[in-house]
Symmetry: C2
Subunit: 203 residues, 2 copies
Amino acid sequence: MADTAAPISVGIVIFDGVEELDFVGPWEVFSMAKQIGAPLDVFTVGWPEPAIRCAKGLYVVADHAFAGAPKADVVLVPGGRGTRPLAQDEAFIAALKPYLAAATWQTSVCTGAALLGRAGFLDGKHATTNRNAFDFFRASAPGAILEQELRYVRDGHVLTAAGVSAGIDMALWLVGHLFGEDVARSTQTFMEYFPEPPYGNAA
Amino acid sequence: MADTAAPISVGIVIFDGVEELDFVGPWEVFSMAKQIGAPLDVFTVGWPEPAIRCAKGLYVVADHAFAGAPKADVVLVPGGRGTRPLAQDEAFIAALKPYLAAATWQTSVCTGAALLGRAGFLDGKHATTNRNAFDFFRASAPGAILEQELRYVRDGHVLTAAGVSAGIDMALWLVGHLFGEDVARSTQTFMEYFPEPPYGNAA
């Protein structure tokens, strides 16, 4: 008998110049939620090929090349300096559009929002991005309503986070939305995500 | 003329079964501090070889194999389920000891503390580890004083963090200690590390 409760798939798109914590933070959240029992399938999708040199130099090999990657219910597009050339890369944008369109949730962290914008998913949507990339965001998503003060923004099934570490909070929110607060709290507990930044938690 | 101000080197030891956020959190902190001007050299050291399959399945290729890796001023040993077999792996412990001994700072995240203990660096030291691994810690570091309530613990040049995400706070503390509060605060700002967990910041 087939299991009729298919897991929710999360495809994390990575590329040369992706910021490490932008995608590993949500990766850890979704993977930990899966470990404690949430029906999730989490994988990375490398553009164009699996081998990726991240923004700070970490070398990662994605689970799938972009061409032929499994469709995902949740697509997450992280940021990093690699988003600047990709926003001008017509082949990438043309490939990203149908991948995002096939998903239920279009999500981003940091300057990944600019790529959601270029792919046409932010028209009329409230969204956010890295604090140092508002101009890049406006140029890439001219129809969006930029929220400058929020850590993450949900508008329908579009979910965008501010810079770098904000993706952790966004991913925890989505785990709670999809599987309930108890699952999100347990995920947070197993990650011991009760932050104590040594110089405080205010910008 | 040689530059007499050599950077402080940070060697992050990774291995099959290393927890992703355990090491990518500190990697991001140290790498961001470097980007904004702190004299740091940050690299990963794979045991035994560079190709590493992390605990949640991320595939990473380290900068160096363990044998022949550059000495590091700061050695960071992350956790993850891979620490369980490594704590019993005499070849690994024999290799880790001199690598840690050559460093100024011996640091760990999560169950990496058990490996510091097995290598003999926690005798008489206050230290901490993952909340779900106190027994593993006690068995691996019988001479240590376990701090069960702290997010990270500094005892001399031994610095240990609690589970998974606690390494971010620990690394920010060390950046502040080495380079000053302003550098740590700027690093935090560029990471936008002002957490807002959706269900609060209390366990």
